[in-house]
């Protein structure tokens, strides 16, 4: 790899080199080595290309390999490295026929969207208070929010499991037996709470950056306080809200702990995509190629999000983490 890279580089500057070293008859590699000694920047450039290709390979190869497994017909799944053993794109249809995988995906989307909306609304209010208002107890309250991210989800789980299995009279018309277990609520509520601190910190950073003058102007015009928040502050910090939204959506969609334990794994009981992928591991046979195909389908939504919103993801992770 280094060799070909260097050779093309040598070609580019061949005329220049010929003029300098006309009396020497060197092979391309020796030429490159000699040039490198004269000009070390070339070596760094070559190293950079090697590193870039290495990282591209290591991050993308597992996805490529997963696709090869998915395309291999059942029963021929041995020693797949770079090519599939056979060609069976039908696996991507079988995925939906064997179990209702689209149902699991739908559940995941609903849960992730509902959590994102909840986090953005509640987090916007809190982020506005932290970012733009002065009040006693601001720092302790921010630390209290931060403390939540220190605890493992397991530390919340036991009482929440009890709580969500307790029947509440008020919930009976909605959930039937009055409990939240096996409803989207059992995932939306804890996941919103767990990923809210990050959203609050991102939104705080963005809201704090808006000049006071704009808000004052809106208030002088007769806008109410909440009106100023929803019609001036939030539209102006739309990139921040989008950032917090994208990160929350990805985090909820990817979460394992609560998604795994808060439903009984049935699609009609709001089990998310995670249970769907694990469901191909049947009692008598394990459908490896379908697991691979389902995994690829499951990655597509987040892959699209990453391609579209990569700047937002980068700025959000940086702002959120460095602020905290």
């Amino acid at each position: 790899m280094t060799d070909t890279q260097s050779r093309t580089e040598t070609d580019d500057t061949a005329v220049f080199d010929d003029a300098q070293n006309a009396e020497l008859d060197r092979g391309p590699f020796q030429q490159w080595a000699a040039d490198s000694i004269e000009n070390p920047e070339r070596v760094y450039r070559a190293m950079f290309y090697v590193a870039a290709i290495f990282f591209l390979f290591t991050t993308l190869f597992p996805f490529y390999w997963l696709l090869m497994v998915a395309l291999t017909p059942e029963g021929q799944l041995q020693d797949i490295v770079f090519t599939p053993n056979g060609f069976n794109p039908g696996a991507f249809v079988e995925v939906f026929q064997t179990i209702p995988f689209h149902w699991y995906m739908f559940n995941s989307f609903v849960i992730a969207l509902a959590s994102t909306v909840l986090v953005l609304i509640i987090g916007s209010l809190a982020g506005y208070a932290f970012g733009r208002l002065e009040f006693p107890g601001k720092v302790p309250l921010m630390l209290l929010v931060l403390v939540i991210s220190f605890f493992p989800p397991a530390a919340f789980f036991i009482p929440l499991n009890d709580l969500f299995n307790t029947s509440f009279f008020l919930l009976e018309p909605i959930t039937g037996d009055g409990t939240l277990y096996n409803t989207p609520g059992a995932m939306v509520l804890p996941l919103s709470a767990i990923f809210m601190p990050l959203a609050i910190f991102i939104l705080t950073t963005f809201y704090a950056q808006i000049p006071d003058g704009l808000e004052d102007a809106a208030r002088v015009e007769g806008t109410t306080r909440l009106g100023a928040l929803f019609r001036v502050i939030i539209p102006l910090s739309a990139p921040g809200v989008a950032t917090a939204g994208v990160l929350t959506f990805i985090a909820v969609y990817n979460e394992f702990f609560f998604s795994f334990l808060m439903t009984d794994g049935q699609p009609e009981n709001w089990a998310p995509i995670l249970e769907g992928i694990l469901a191909y591991q049947g009692q008598y046979e394990v459908l490896y190629h379908l697991m691979a195909a389902a995994s690829i389908i499951g990655v597509i939504p987040v892959a699209i999000l990453v391609v579209i919103a990569q700047e937002k993801i980068v700025s959000g992770l940086t702002a959120g983490a460095l602020k905290e």
Binding site: F55, A129, V145, S192, T318
Partner: protein
């Protein structure tokens, strides 16, 4: 919100519902800034209290009570810190121990009651330390690549972020399939190299390495992005000065890049350590908790193992949080004097 004009005209013609709406908004207008702030924080703290603070306190209280394995009541009376003593001395009713060492007179002065990789505390700590070290090094490499100007940089960045955005279960599935002897090439390859045994996912040591690799694959991107933010805040003219002064690339890295990136790097490492200490989903979807028992694994097993040791489960959960808290304090104290500070 049609209330602006209503407030001006007194809202005479508006229905009752709007009038009460006006009253609420009027009252909100007259609140002091502090009261208004508390009002805006109320929904967030209501949710956090219900989902986070109340369960934490409740878990803590449960952890101080006795396991009641028979009878209708799941929990017995208060026993103070007995559960914590049990899990720290390896006497808990757990399938795999939290910590099981005894002090001995001869070198190395500790005896392992069970193998190293079957003690949850060691497994988790080893996982956290090794993965964070590798992720830092690889993250630096990735950040350096992304810091350069080149065509197609946008797509290289997408490729590097992509593993970070993959659901944990799919991350687990990829590495499960790769090292599953029937399907993947990983098992054969590593056996040929003489590193792994015949069934790596069932062997504690092999599975531990697989989980490490899977985590490094996914999480290096997070490190890379935070380090990149640090790199881009470095004043480029410093490098020119260093070059004129004849500093070697290594000196430039050690004397300019590293100190300036340090604050961002420490935050990234802290976050990754906290995350690594909570590892569960990756293990559950690859090797399983029996092969590689992490701290969270222990809690889940104790809770759903059918042995009704809820108090022990709570104690393990809280002990995990304490260990994480301890690590955070180490970071804060140890790196307090770092230029730029941690926060």
């Amino acid at each position: 919100m049609a209330t602006d004009t209503d407030t001006l005209t007194g809202g005479d013609a508006t229905p009752d519902r709007d009038r009460t709406g006006n009253a609420v908004i009027n009252r909100m207008e007259n609140l002091s800034e502090a009261t208004y702030a508390y009002l805006l924080l109320l929904p967030a703290f209501a949710l956090l209290t219900l989902i986070a603070f109340y369960p934490l306190i409740s878990t803590f209280i449960t952890s101080l009570r006795e396991d009641q394995t028979r009878g209708a009541e799941p929990l017995g009376g208060f026993v103070g810190v007995d559960n914590y003593v049990d899990i720290l001395t390896g006497n808990a009713r757990l399938a795999r121990q939290f910590l099981d060492v005894t002090v001995s007179a001869s070198f190395p002065f500790v005896d392992l009651g069970t193998p190293f990789l079957q003690q949850a505390l060691f497994v988790t700590l080893a996982f956290a330390v090794i993965s964070v070290v590798f992720e830092t090094v690889i993250g630096f490499g990735q950040a350096y690549v992304l810091d350069q100007e080149f065509r197609g940089r946008r797509w290289v960045r997408v490729a590097i972020i992509l593993p970070w955005a993959v659901p944990i279960v799919i991350q687990g599935m990829i590495f499960f399939l790769m090292f599953q002897p029937e399907v993947g090439f990983g098992s054969d390859l590593m056996q040929w190299l003489g590193i792994f045994g015949p069934n790596p996912l069932a062997d504690s040591q092999d599975a531990f390495i697989i989980i490490l690799v899977a985590d490094i694959w996914k999480s290096s991107a997070f490190m890379a992005l935070l380090i990149l933010a640090g790199l881009q805040s470095v004043d480029r003219s410093l490098y020119d000065v260093a070059r004129v002064a004849g500093a070697s690339p290594w000196q430039r890295f050690k004397l300019i890049t590293l100190p300036l990136v340090m604050p961002a790097l420490l935050v990234a490492m802290l976050f990754r350590t906290m995350d690594a200490m909570r590892v569960y989903g990756l293990i559950e979807s690859t090797a399983g908790c029996t092969t590689v028992p992490s701290l969270t694994c222990l809690v889940v097993e104790a809770m759903f193992g059918g042995t009704r040791i809820y108090a022990t489960a709570a104690a393990v959960a809280f002990a995990t949080a304490l260990v994480i808290g301890l690590i955070i304090s180490v970071y804060v104290v140890f790196f307090r004097d770092t230029e730029g500070g941690l926060y």
